[in-house]
Amino acid sequence: MSTQRFSCSLHNLEKISDFITACANNAGLSDVEVYAVQLAVDEAATNIIEHGYGQECPSRIDVTCEYLNDGLKIVIYDDAEPFDPSLVPEPAINVSLDEIKPRGLGIFLMRKMMDEVVYETSPDKGNTLTMIKHHKS
């Protein structure tokens, strides 16, 4: 298990990616699985910085990698306002180019990319997002 703390700037997305990429490689994930983890974590961290902290950056993001027997667990913690993902509508997928409306794909992508995505929040303890990726075989 390994944790790193990042200040909440979009310019840290690459550093966060470097950290979790190393973890995903160590966990023995395949190239396509590693990319899936990179994308899910990037979308999650972007949301925290843009929506959670509203680009104000008073605080930080803690990213923890934990190796599982069959893959990788990533926990992302922030202490921004509580976020309830159940209030977010499902995006419209497979619509024509004319109809597609920008934004709203991040959480959907995270769910598609990872095997488990769990948001936990409480006013006093902040937001904890747990995502798990299993190896294919």
Binding site: Q38, L39, N94
Partner: protein, 109 residues
């Protein structure tokens, strides 16, 4: 973000490298807007050296595609396997023609 543009007779090739994410997607957007602002709607986006595209990047490309069509088109070249799979997963693969090599992309216009 380093962005190169090359104008050919019937299309403009735009190339960048590395990551396209929330921190730099607006730079790509500005570069592409500069092309369409000149009424050049045939664009080849060379992704040979792009290794990551977050949804912020796709929105830029989708926005550009909407501007280009129907008079022109934005096509992609050399899209990495992981990137391509994530695009298909969200049903956006159908918005872009993807070419395996530059010559075919430029030759399509």
């Amino acid at each position: 973000m380093d962005i190169q543009k090359t104008e050919f007779k019937r299309c403009t090739v735009v190339k960048t490298s590395g990551r396209i994410d929330g921190s730099n997607a607006h730079e790509l957007a500005a570069a592409l807007k500069a092309v369409t602002a000149k009424n050049m709607y045939n664009i080849v986006f060379d992704m040979t050296e792009v290794n990551f595209v977050a949804s912020a990047g796709w929105w830029v490309l989708i926005d550009t595609q909407k501007t280009c069509k129907p008079s022109g088109e934005l096509v992609l070249v050399k899209v990495d396997k992981g990137i391509r799979e994530s695009l298909n997963l969200v049903g956006m693969g159908s918005y872009f023609c993807i070419f395996e090599d530059m010559t075919s992309a430029v030759g399509s216009f």
